[in-house]
């Protein structure tokens, strides 16, 4: 684990300081003139300087994030019969499939799975420069009375989740909606928070976090880059 984390950090182009904050117990793993890395308790925060570009996490970390999320979901929700997983298209939907599969493999239960297209509920439709593409929501079960695990890849301003909450409210009266995200990058513009988080990365507005999933992009990765960088 120690060597593994060190190797990953060294692969990135660093300038001044990477500072990594954490939530639970910590002990110093590596001391370097430019960075210190703390062991992860339950989850961890990562701050990266604006010049950094590249993949921060790869398939193994993402797999462990999802496994931990599945455990937390099952621990927090004792009534498995009311669970349902709904992913926000596009990549949130794929992560939702993985979480539903993880729940099936861990607890042996099959939860209803649905996908949400929030295009019709966006608050920026009049101001977007491009034609919004409608894919359509696919939820073939009644959300009333269900504990919905709402899944998205990145939590940023919170506007996507706000749209998803409105759309779910129009579909029925769920018992609860628990937000699950792979990456929380801060910079919220609405009072929205995640119940289950893979990792938190402190970013600035001129950075961009992208989640790649192997089903669509060929590999699993969490990338950071400056806005305006060309895609890798």
């Amino acid at each position: 684990m120690i060597v593994f984390v060190f190797h990953r950090i060294v692969c990135l182009r660093l300038t001044p300081i990477i500072s990594i904050y954490m939530k639970a117990n910590f002990r110093t793993i590596v001391n370097h003139q430019n960075y210190r890395i703390f062991n992860i308790g339950q989850s961890h925060y990562v701050t990266v300087p604006t010049s950094l570009t590249g993949a921060i996490f790869h398939v193994n970390e993402i797999r462990s994030f999802i496994a931990r999320i599945v455990d937390e979901i099952l621990r927090k929700n004792s009534n498995h019969a009311a669970l349902a997983v709904i992913g926000i298209k596009t990549r949130g939907a794929i992560l939702a499939e993985r979480i539903a599969r993880g729940i099936r493999e861990t607890a042996g239960i099959t939860v209803p799975l649905g996908f949400l297209d929030i295009t019709l509920y966006r608050d920026d439709l009049g101001a977007t420069l491009h034609q919004p593409i409608l894919q359509g929501s696919e939820i073939d079960f009644d959300v009333t009375g269900k504990d919905i695990i709402l899944v998205d890849d990145v939590l940023f301003t919170g506007r996507t989740v706000r749209a998803a909450l409105d759309e779910l409210a129009d579909m029925g009266r769920s018992a609860s909606i628990q937000l699950t995200v792979l990456v929380d990058r801060g910079l919220r513009e609405l009072p929205i928070q995640a119940d289950f988080t893979g990792t938190s990365i402190v970013t600035t507005r001129d950075q961009e976090i992208k989640v790649y999933v192997s089903e669509v992009d060929g590999e699993d990765a969490i990338l950071i880059r400056n806005v305006g960088d060309r895609p890798q």
């Binding site: 019709l120 977007t128 129009d170």
Partner: protein
């Protein structure tokens, strides 16, 4: 993928990709119509005027439902109670409406080209809800959507439009749209009611309903306007019915299931017999609900994005 025009004035020249975009978008809106709350906030804050200067009930209601389901604000402007009776020109009526910051105008007018004229004169998006005997693009789109929904695809199907083709805007829009989507198109009706030279559009012309039924997978049966009889386009309703009515006996002779469409309102037992209209090969009621979804799709595509 986006629509190339800010307006929907007709299906003439619309490429297959744009037609498919509208039909695919309509599929999502059709799903909204099955929800307990059949409303989305997508066009909230937008104002839409239904400028129906020729009388219509079903098209106007369908548009109004589509607009309200998208949470837009709707203003209805009908032919009778309008300033046009006082002699105001269409241009001034439209300019006045635009001054009130209307986003989309849905216009039905008895003069062909009125929507095209309007689109040059006002800045709002313009949707043609039927201009004279020219085009009725939303009707053709919902017909194509219904065919696609029932039969899986449009390409390669043979669609025959039966009835008064000469005076039908539904027929012309359907011809443009179906040909672009790769269907074989034919028409069937008395020689007095089929425009001369229609074959040049790539459309086959039948004057015998049994021949047409033998060739077709889908029949789109148009309403015969009883007033035409008075103008001597055909001798009598009875004679029209004898030669061109789509009846169960005629369809049974075809030995395969033929899908029946009708834009409405039906003259029962004139162009379409009652038992066919109520049978399970008729998709007439699906057309009505699909019409709301298709109009929602068009309003969405024109009303959002820049």
């Amino acid at each position: 993928m986006t629509l190339s025009s800010r307006h929907l004035l007709g299906l003439e020249g619309m490429p297959k990709e744009e037609l498919q975009l509208i039909l695919d978008t309509a599929t999502s809106f059709r799903a909204v119509l099955d929800r307990p709350i059949k409303k989305v906030p997508t066009l909230q804050g937008k104002t839409i005027v239904n400028l129906f200067l020729e009388s219509s009930t079903r098209t106007r209601i369908s548009f109004e439902l589509a607009e309200r389901r998208l949470s837009a604000d709707v203003v209805n402007f009908s032919a009778d109670a309008s300033s046009l009776r006082k002699g105001e020109t269409l241009k001034d009526t439209a300019r006045n409406i635009e001054a009130m910051k209307i986003d989309i105008v849905v216009i039905r007018h008895s003069a062909p080209g009125a929507p095209h004229f309007l689109s040059k004169v006002i800045k709002s998006n313009v949707i043609n809800a039927g201009d004279g005997a020219h085009e009725h693009p939303t009707q053709a789109l919902l017909d194509m959507y219904t065919i696609r929904e029932r039969l899986g695809q449009i390409e390669g199907l043979h669609v025959c439009i039966v009835g008064d083709i000469l005076h039908s805007r539904v027929a012309l829009s359907n011809i443009y749209g179906l040909l672009a989507m790769g269907a074989d198109v034919s028409v069937c009706g008395p020689k007095t009611l089929i425009p001369y030279g229609l074959e040049r559009m790539g459309v086959r012309v039948f004057h015998n309903i049994d021949e047409a039924i033998r060739a077709a997978d889908v029949l789109n049966v148009l309403r015969i306007q009883l007033e035409r009889q008075a103008l001597a386009f055909f001798p009598s309703i009875r004679e029209y019915r004898l030669f061109f009515a789509v009846t169960k006996e005629r369809l049974d002779r075809a030995n395969r299931k033929i899908t029946i469409l009708h834009p409405g309102p039906i003259n029962r037992d004139v162009e379409l017999s009652a038992d066919v209209a109520d049978s399970d090969c008729s998709v007439i009621l699906d057309q009505v609900l699909n019409g709301v979804a298709v109009r929602m799709a068009i309003l969405f595509l024109l009303g959002t994005g820049k």
